[in-house]
Structures are given as C-alpha cells and as structure tokens.
Symmetry: C7
Subunit: 74 residues, 7 copies
C-alpha cells in the first residue's frame, strides 16, 4: 500500500487547493512539505469561502503550518 504522503510527493509542482480550519481556502503550487504537513505554496491565492471562490489575496510564497489543514485537494 502507498501512504498518504506518497500522494503529496506526486503532487509536487502541481496546483493544490487547501482547506484550512477557520473557513479559509488557499490555492497554489505545492513546492515542498514535511512530516508535520507544513507546506510551501508558490503563487498562492487566498480564496473567498463561498460558491464563487474568487481570489481575495495573492502571495508569491507562503508556508502553511500543518495543524491548520483540514484537507488538501490534489
């Protein structure tokens, strides 16, 4: 059996959508991650938490602390 982190490795360099606790959504290119699920997203966008999910803010690079993550859409 592969493990969940193997899927993250496959997703490196690809765009992912990350749903965070506190009704936040960020999207960006997955540049790296570690065992705590801390991740680096490049060309990151914070999206509004509604049906349109329009771009609220842009960041060239963010580090998201793993414990805020609900799920990552790969």
């Amino acid at each position: 059996m592969t493990r969940p982190f193997d899927e993250l490795t496959k997703a490196l360099g690809q765009q992912v959508l990350v749903r965070l606790k506190g009704d936040r959504i960020v999207r960006g290119t997955l540049a790296s991650f570690d065992v705590h699920l801390n991740i680096i997203l490049e060309n990151a966008e914070e999206l509004t938490n509604n049906e349109e999910q329009s771009v609220k803010e842009k960041y060239p690079k963010i580090m998201v602390r793993g414990d805020n993550i609900i799920f990552i859409a790969l």
Copy 2:
C-alpha cells in the same frame, strides 16, 4: 483481538463516509491511510450537512488530515 486500524485495512478500495469536525462530511474511496489517521480519498465528494446529504463539491483526490476526523463509517 483485532485493532481499529485493521478495519481500515479491510476497507481499502471501498467507499467510506468521513465525518469531520466543523460539521463537514466527505465521502470517497479509501485509497490509503497512515498512523495519524491521515487518509487519501479518491473520487471524493463533500456533502451538505443536512438530512439529504447532497453533493456540494467533487474532488478527484483529497488528503484529509487525521486530526479533523470524528468518525469513519466503513
């Protein structure tokens, strides 16, 4: 005695429903998991949190961080 994670192993490749903290429900095919209960769901659907549980959003593949999980219906 078998252990709870043995039941997850048996459920690999099957559809499971996952109730998350914060009134979220996701459903999908259990593709993998690890000791932290991080899981990969394929053909994942986020459901509305009401009696109908209709599909709100679809994702080809998501990684759910284990600490958000309340229970997994196997």
Copy 3:
C-alpha cells in the same frame, strides 16, 4: 489496581454508549480499541442529543477517533 483500559477489554462485544465532543452520541457494539482510544463500533447508531435519544442514523461499522470521546458508558 486494574486500569481503565482493562474495563474496555471486559466490554468487548457488548453495547456501549459513547458521548462525543460537539454534542454527539453514538451507540454500538464495542468491537475493538487501541491505546489512543480509537474504537470500532458495530451496528452503530447516532442518537439525537435530547432526552429521547432517538436514532438519527445507522452505520454497520464505524471507527471513532479517540480524541473526540468525552466518556464511554460501559
């Protein structure tokens, strides 16, 4: 002195009621557990959180993540 987990071992195969954080109640046959208090309940029922505690939903088998548990009535 016996330890709390010894009581869980004795309760294997018996019906237990589990009160969860977030005002949830589930009931079912205790099939297995581990050191994190992750548990498998068979013929599980989610109950309404009022005096009647009527059945809200039924699941053949659920794995409850231990950190959601307030108490288990044995």
Copy 4:
C-alpha cells in the same frame, strides 16, 4: 513531596466529583485511573450544571477520557 497522582490513589473507592470541559459534571466512585488521567467511575451520575446539581442521568460504569477533565474534587 507527594505528587498529585498520589492523591488519586488515596481516593480509590471513594466518591469524587469531576468537572469536565463543556460544562459537564459527573460524580461517581473512583475505580481506577491511568497516567493520562483517564478514569473509571462506578455508579456514575451526570449532574445538571446549576446550583442544585440534580441528577440528569445514571450510568453503572463510565470511562472518562482524561483530556476532558478540568478538576476532580477528591
């Protein structure tokens, strides 16, 4: 110096009142405990969270997960 857990050992077999997070109060005979402060209460009663503290529900035996406990009145 004695340690807090020594006081729990002395209280074995005696009635204790346990205040839980989320405004819950349970009372019962302390039958066992472990290092995580998981405890078994026998002849347990859940009390209403008001001045009267009347009995709301009775359970022959409950296992309380330690991380829910605010304090135990010995």
Copy 5:
C-alpha cells in the same frame, strides 16, 4: 537562572490563585504539582469571575489538570 517550576516549589503550602480557561478561578493551598502542571489545592474555593471574586463553591481538596491553567498567582 532558576526555572518557573522552582517558584512552584517555593509556593508549596501557601495559598495560590489559579486562573483557568473558560473563565474559572480557583484558590487554595498548593499541596503538590507535577511536570504537567497538574496541581493539588487544599481548602479550595471556586470564585466568581467578577470584580468581587466571591466564593462560589468550596472543596476540601481538588486536583486541577494542568492543561486548563492560564496562570497561577504565587
């Protein structure tokens, strides 16, 4: 440099005021503590959370679980 726990050792046998998460205040004689900051208070009083801080409830001895503590006034 002394360490914070050294101050607790000095306060053994003295009255301390403990502010807890969830707007609770307890006061009592510090009888013992451990590395998790679990503490035993003797002749404990729960105080109202207002300017008067009048006594709401009395307990001969309580064990407070360390993770509820915001600060201890020594």
Copy 6:
C-alpha cells in the same frame, strides 16, 4: 543564527508584555522561563484589552503556562 529562546534569555530582568489567548494581556518583569515557554513574571499586571490598556489587576508574581501565549513583546 541565534534562536528565539536566546532573545528570551536577553530579556531576563526586563519588562515584557505578553498577549494571551482569550484576549488577555499581562505585563511584568521576566524572571524565568522554560522550554515549554512557561514564564514567571514579577510585579505582574493584567491589562484591559482596549486602546488604553489600563491596569486591571496586580500580582507580585505569576507563572503563565506557555501554551496560552500568542506573543511576547520583548
């Protein structure tokens, strides 16, 4: 590179302002700290959480449990 705790060592004996979860602010002389960020403040003052930050309460010495701290202004 120096590490964050090196800055705490430099601040020993100086007045610091500590912002806590739950909208609390305390100020005092940093007397000691440990690896969990438990700290001792001497001549501590709890401040109101508004623009004036006036003194609400005074304590000769308090031990703040590290996990309540958002940031320490050095």
Copy 7:
C-alpha cells in the same frame, strides 16, 4: 526536495507577514525561528484585520509562539 523550513532560512532578515489564529496579523523582519515555528520578528507591526491592513500597534521585537501561526507569507 527542499523542505518548508529551508524557505524560512532564506527569508531571514526579510520582512514577512504572519497570519495568526484569532484573526490577528503581524508583520516584521524575520530574525530567527526554531523547530516549533516559534519566531522572532523585529520592527514588528500588528495590523488591522480588514482590507486596509493599517498598523494597529508597533513593537521593536516580538516572539510569536509557533502554534498560533496559520501561515507566513515569505
């Protein structure tokens, strides 16, 4: 693959924006960090949590406890 903390090392001496739980935003020069993501910010500013993000408070140096961090914009 580089790891998320490598990006923090590259950002030392540069201005970063840190979004904290509880709707707080701080900005400052990243002076140091440790494995818990505790960070030191110099010339730190707390910003209002609205579109303008105007400066609410200034601090010469703050230590932010890592577990409050949602993300760091590098």
